[in-house]
């Protein structure tokens, strides 16, 4: 079970970008799955199945936060209209400077600016390598919706990272 927990943790971190949230999501999934451990043995492709369970848990988390007064802002922060935009910086603010840092850190910051659905499709498809057809099941979303979501997510990432376009030859270490 340990490799599966590490896999779940990696996906949870990719969804949330937060160690604390990733730990909470994984813990919640394990609490749900443990009474059904015997059923897991019969599942042919366990990882996509686990990813689906995790994604549902993540959606629940996002919805719960959306109902909380504090979470309203946190959820909005991940959409196209970031509340930070309402805190205009006369001098350059942290966001502007973040975009000038190393590529990996800039990409992580840009992913934080996507809404949860966009972040999920881009991390599962572009980072984890799942096909859109596989994601139809994992994310329980029609192919057409996934394609438009992916299109918007990539366009927004390119816009967020366009302050300092990186060359095709630049590589991520690690």
């Amino acid at each position: 079970m340990r490799p599966q927990v590490e896999y779940l943790y990696r996906l949870a971190w990719r969804f949330t970008g937060s160690v604390a949230d990733a730990e909470d999501l994984v813990q919640d999934v394990l609490l749900k799955l443990y009474p059904r451990t015997r059923q897991l043995v019969d599942i042919e492709q366990l990882r996509p199945w686990l990813a689906r369970v995790l994604y549902r848990e993540y959606v629940d988390l996002v919805r719960q936060r959306a109902r909380s007064p504090i979470a309203d802002l946190a959820a909005d922060a991940e959409g196209e209209d970031n509340p930070l935009d309402t805190l205009p910086a006369i001098k350059d603010g942290p966001e502007e400077h973040a975009e000038r840092s190393g590529l990996r850190e800039r990409i992580l910051c840009a992913l934080d600016r996507l809404n949860p659905e966009q972040r999920a499709v881009v991390t599962m498809h572009d980072v984890e390598g799942y096909s859109l057809e596989e994601l139809e099941t994992i994310l329980d979303t029609p192919l057409g919706t996934l394609k438009s979501r992916l299109h918007r997510a990539r366009r927004r990432l390119r816009a967020l990272l366009s302050v300092e376009p990186f060359s095709a030859g630049e590589r991520v270490n690690g």
Partner: protein, 211 residues
Amino acid sequence: MECRDFTPQLDDCLDGRLDAAARRSIQQHLERCPDCRRLHQHAAALQAALRTLPAPTPRQGFVDQALSRATDAAAGAVRTPRRGVLGMALAASLVLGVAVGVFLVTRPAPVPTVALMLERPETVRLMFNSAKPLQAATLSLALPGNVELVGYGDRELSWQTDLREGGNLLQLPLVARGTAKDELVASLSHGGTSKTFRLKFEVDNAGKSGM
């Protein structure tokens, strides 16, 4: 092919979902259109970078702890409640209350703590609650010596901003470079009054090699 025909096909092109004729048509267009060529290069480079984006390994002890809790809960020995919505929201967030002019707290509040992993960027969210809209408030941040704002060299920065009534979210992409226990100091000033907030960092260096 025209530029307006290329853009809608960019994603399918990146994902290898085009047939040979469509690929050839795009290739010919890219050879003669520098703007679309630049867009394609940028998109392909981003996709390549995403493909190699690392993820952290769980902190030491987390997997054992999580499995143990799940086992205990399944056995009915321990009921492990899910954190409440607020608790979840605050896991990586911090709410700082400020009501300039009507701030009546007379005793110091405990300094909140946020957990960071060494060398792993984490977005820390600060929520400033304002009792009324504030125009041109000055927000100053002083970071401790072991924590950096991602991509920002200085540890002290200050800028003017407008606060709206209610919650105002500030996201700080932070990365811990050392394990020393120290505090971030945020100061909000407006109309001759100011309020200072402190935030403690606990830095865990477990799994540093995971990135």
